[in-house]
Chain length 151, copies 2
DNA sequence: TATTGTTATACTCTATAACTATA
DNA sequence: TATAGTTATAGAGTATAACAATA
């Protein structure tokens, strides 16, 4: 029996639990605005990377073009994004943020930051620093090793 | 401008990223068995806490009784769980794991442990220990502060 | 009258496949 | 022939509300 391994299992359990709790802690507040995680993801992507075609959105979000159609339909109905024709390619639809969409992103990011401050309030600066570098290592492993698993 | 706050924002971004990546890293492997996160959650709960009524399952999983009906229908069709009449209360249905259900849980936990070993491989024991205690603090904040947000 | 689990209905996210318009 | 976005269809998770059987 290796006690070291138990520590690792415990750390992973906590990572899982935080992952499961962190999303809802931030996204539950969106429900009143008829927003959802997938929709805020679309709007946020446009805020980060600027206007793009639906095809580019599908690639950026890692989903199908059909899914993008639905998400753009929903956020367009909410007045957060706008469809415009592409200047040269008449097949293509350009999706861009409206002013209301920009407001929604900034309000959501402010809320996420408040949650962050609250969640990390129990740690001093040194602990936050150590946590952050450990998480960076975990992230690298997760991203690097994940593709290998598929093969 | 407070640089300390940037460290905290960075740590939170990494927590979010890990939360978003960790789930799929473990649950994608279930798709071939027609299992899903919600279904494995039900089966795992029965493995942890033993047989219980659907009402108790709804409370334990934090969802509606209607949702439990669907999840039990699906996992029962897969042969992982079984519905039995309650010995005294004829309204109640007792849900319990089958042998195949137990096998599915242990196989899934073994897979999750392999992912854990891979993900934490970049950290030494001391770092794992520090990470784990920092995560415990974050978890406490998350669970304690979350209810306060609602009020 | 309250509780258990169901049917009925609806919304969201997601996917594949077939189709239209355009390149 | 290939690409962009759509309609058609489907499965999964989730919710509320109405209902039947039982307590």
């Amino acid at each position: 029996m290796k006690p070291l391994h138990n520590h690792r299992a415990e750390a992973m359990q906590r990572l899982f639990a935080i992952g499961a709790a962190l999303g809802p802690a931030v996204t539950d507040s969106l429900a009143t605005q008829r927003l959802t995680p997938a929709r805020i993801g679309l709007v946020q992507r446009l805020h980060t990377d600027g206007a793009m075609s639906q095809r580019q959105l599908a690639d950026a979000l890692g989903c199908t073009p059909r899914n993008v159609t639905g998400l753009v339909d929903a956020t367009e109905a909410l007045g957060l994004v706008r469809r415009d024709p592409h200047p040269t390619d008449r097949r293509t639809t350009l999706v861009s943020l409206t002013d209301a969409g920009t407001d929604a992103v900034t309000a959501w990011q402010a809320h996420a930051r408040r949650v962050a401050d609250q969640v990390l309030a129990g740690l001093d600066d040194r602990q936050v620093h150590d946590l952050s570098s450990a998480l960076a290592s975990v992230l690298n492993r997760l991203r690097a090793g994940y593709e290998d698993d598929q093969s």
